[in-house]
Symmetry: D2
Subunit: 347 residues, 4 copies
């Protein structure tokens, strides 16, 4: 029997991808999808890629009824506001916003004057490759921020293995425009954004807190992470370039081994071998629509630098796909169920 | 038991898409894939989106062995050259080049001094929405040219219904760069192509012959088709704008009805209704990777013009997807088998 | 002594280009620039390309003072509303909106319920290659719509020479996003617009009226023009493809001669010869920032079709550059003064 | 009287930009331009933006005659090969390749087995903002590599002022496709490159040697520079993000002051103030075609990181424009002569 899932805030870009994946998921029935703006319209009204996928219509957020699992794609702050009411409606909640990613102190530090109130349960951080066990038993999951997600998949094996120093880690993330959501403003106006190549958040990005917090949680080391975000042309895709420094003299092969070992059993993370492809670099293009993360390692032994590049589709591996991945783990389903699409090339 | 399919010339862009679709097709086993350049390499070597889809390796073209169905993605002229040898190896052949689209006279007229030799069987033109019955019984199928395909899906219902005059039909097709194939040259060099907006074939395009021939074959009317092809920025996708002229005074609703009726039972052709979507215009974006064609109709009753726009992914509906569609029909499988991907948005 | 020019509505995209050209124009002094939104800010506040070009600041529209020439970049309808007051402030007015392009009847037909009131003077239509003499003596000039402009430069020599039939003319225009102005909305939101290839106005576009009216005015023939507008990826640039039909059997050379003769003395219109360049097709790329229009002619003698492609930068030749061109003519300055930039490649 | 300049290897992209600038330069006469491939063709044959700029034709490289100044745009290695002959033909030489940027040891280290032979004079490194005096008296100038150039304009004031530690400097450069030149290959094939977001040289890039060498030469400090190069969509433009670490606790204002002071008198380097513009971030868009470099500074005082972003047009400030700038200095002309174009927006 299908699991009954409701999607809250389903008319935006991550909502559209959550719907695409769940409407085709063999173990799930989408019973409700909410939208403030499009209540009464069919699901495909704002999502042209959902044409022909059924006749369900949006209901207002407040008309949400009880279900087995609630997936929330509401903008930052909104689920927190509705928490008391919404949390009664579903046994399990998967949230794609930043509302439950940090502990209360971290939340207050990075998300300002509305800290997480008391009585809100601790959410498990939904990074399946590193929190697998915890996710299996989770009732509440917070999906990672998209750039943090790519950065963590590159950073964690370096720190976990002790190969990289935790005190100087530079994460230079490049991102397409869809991470900014579906609401127009001047910086997303096509003539302003089409050829943008701008480091819009050189310091002070909120994902810094998420990165440092999760690294500490997973590795027990308190790192210093220097994060910058750069807008590049293109709609989908993130490339996170991690510049790390070797804790002791290392060869490239040793770093490759450490990362390969760590992700050997993980179906969605791939360490690219340069000789195996005409396209040897991690890049989002062939990953769009998929739940994969491609990684590559390069070492400058002379200068002691380790570079790990991580590419993902920000809306899938960086959002909706990981929500489904977490759902699969929570429900005891096969990890890859509903996530079988393998990408297009060229695109 | 699976149908054993070989793909000839599988390292180019249409070959990559044929492989993507067939490797995941439940009724098919890909038994061989050939490449002159990459013989000995794994299938994903030139196709990053095929990573993880098995361990098959390319063989040279000449190592082709017998199979149930041969799908050829060889460049124009090459299958014709190999025909005597190749045709013995497979009961059924699906060709994606122009080698067998036209009759011998048409071929000589548009493809020059190497006309189709005698003894070559007549291929069925692989336009499933209009040749369905013939395809069901076909042994040899020629997949339409990508721009001709989009144009025909727009033109044929107008002419079949008698609503449009056959003597003045303008087809203004806009296309991305992937239709030009995977071999670099100056016009496809990124700095020259990235922002191209150039009508590179205003008159004399070979698809003119294909369009006129198929229209005559299907409708019995000898049309005059004015075809132009324009390169636009972007990798995948075709938009064909058909400017037709009403044979008698018509209202938009009547034309809509004629087209809607014609394609009602066709799973891959959709006539868009403007009120049903925030994205009411046919455009390739949300169709990329899918086998769909989106259509829309507009009528200027005052001036007697009927405009039909048709959008497709040139590599799928315009090539590999239709090859699989034709294969399904030839093999008596469900039409949509292996073609279930529904697209991404935004992209 | 410099001519004192004020720019009304200078904070949008055409305003920015008008400022770029006039601030560097040797015979002009920009004495005032108005903006509702940015009053008090320096000119370069919304226009990063004007950094370092002086310290002038925007004033509110209502603070406009008297000047020699007023160039208005206000949105459609706004100059008409302010006409009584504004027309007293300047001897000469150049308007870039549609407010004064059509006669009163045409305006009422295409721009709806606010027709041009009585007492508004007739503006000269600012198409320098065809209205040169009239512009020299003009006090009021209406700059053509950008797509109409490209279309007319292609259409007029065909009709003027009698080579094309006036009763079936198809103008299929492709345009970048900047023609839509600087105000964000959903259709210009980058994720929605970046890979757009959509015929957003297949019939009923207002430039139809402008095209038909000007052709009749210039040639004395009443034409039927079938206009469609398609959004293509890219920010700047228009390619207008004119599909015309020969009034009698013609050779390509004859059409080339007619067009070449017509534009021989015109510094901004160039008829491309295919053998003279690796880039033989008119395309906006190398024209961006310039006031040039590139044309090419192709004839399908068998089917009697004449295709003329015209490429321009919509913000320069299609707006600001022509305003300066008209200004030069009105003021008796050299035609090309201030318009010497020759473009970039690749871009 | 004009200075007589010859351009060697003028048919590529930097050659085209050198020609664009020099053909319009008031103090220069272009007397010769060479091309292996296009000898006999007019200058605009491969350069559509040079249409109408005179009737000069390419001569073969070997037909080069004596002139006042030779500007070489030959690919890396070729001027070195021709040095004995070519150096006799011109009093002054400006080279845009890497042949003379490094000293002999550096050249052997980074450019392999063909080190600079004996008898080759020391070239002055053509970084006008830092080598101004030396350039004024130079006979031979080596123009910086485009990514090194952007990196150095960001790095040098930080190190010169002692604000940043020299031992850990990360330079993460993002670049468009035109830096790769005009010769097609698979990685520049449009379908492969259009949406590329790939760190194609994470370690070991040759500009590392150039960066370290010049920093040591200018500041006397031996730095460790960690350089990575990432291909992003787009044709022109570089954004270099420098992640530096404060040598002692610093406030942002202090770093801003140090950089602003350093470049106060430099006409082509601008330190952006966030409050002065709707486009507060350095980005190549509005700089395309210009010789400007835009900089911005951000400091994370808590973590001790200083980020400087530098944006340039790789073909102008990163190549042809700096060649003209150096020429102006060598010839005692005004620094900005022939470099007055101020850019376009939006683009």
């Amino acid at each position: 029997m299908s699991v009954r899932v409701a999607v809250l805030g389903a008319a935006g870009y991550t909502g559209g991808e959550v719907l695409r994946l769940l409407l085709a998921h063999p173990a799930v029935e989408v019973v409700q999808a909410t939208s403030g703006q499009f209540a009464g319209k069919r699901l495909d009204f704002p999502h042209p890629h959902l044409r022909g996928m059924g006749t369900l219509r949006y209901t207002p957020h407040d008309a949400l009824e009880s279900c087995d699992v609630l997936v929330s794609c509401l903008p930052q702050g909104e689920l927190l506001q509705r928490w008391q009411k919404v949390s009664l409606l579903a046994e399990r909640v998967v949230d794609l916003s930043a509302d439950f990613r940090l502990d209360a102190a971290g939340h207050a530090r990075w998300y300002g004057k509305h800290p997480r109130p008391d009585g809100v349960p601790a959410f498990v951080y939904g990074l399946p490759e590193w929190m697998g066990e915890a996710l299996t038993n989770a009732r509440h999951v917070a999906i990672p921020g998209c750039m943090a997600h790519a950065g963590l998949l590159a950073l964690l094996p370096l720190l976990h293995s002790g190969l990289a120093r935790p005190d100087v880690l530079v994460v230079d993330a490049k991102t397409g425009s869809s991470g900014g959501g579906s609401t127009p403003d001047r910086s997303s106006h096509h003539p302003e954004r089409a050829n943008a190549l701008r480091c819009y958040k050189p310091v002070g990005h909120r994902h810094t807190g998420e990165l440092e917090g999760v690294v500490e949680h997973v590795t027990g080391q308190k790192p210093t992470i220097h994060f910058s975000a750069t807008a590049v042309p293109g709609v989908r895709g993130i490339l996170a370039t991690v510049h790390a420094f070797a804790a002791r003299p290392v060869e490239e092969a040793e770093v490759v081994r450490a990362i390969a070992t760590r992700y050997r059993e993980k179906p969605f993370v791939r360490l690219l071998r340069p000789s195996a492809s005409l396209s040897p670099f991690p890049e989002p293009g062939p990953l769009l629509g998929t739940n994969h993360c491609d990684l590559a390692v390069d070492v400058d032994a002379e200068r002691g630098r380790i570079v790990v590049n991580a590419a993902i589709d920000n809306l899938v591996k960086g959002a909706a796909g990981t929500a489904v991945h977490a759902l699969n783990l929570m429900l005891g389903r096969p990890e890859t169920e509903g996530l079988g699409f393998r990408g297009l090339h060229p695109l």
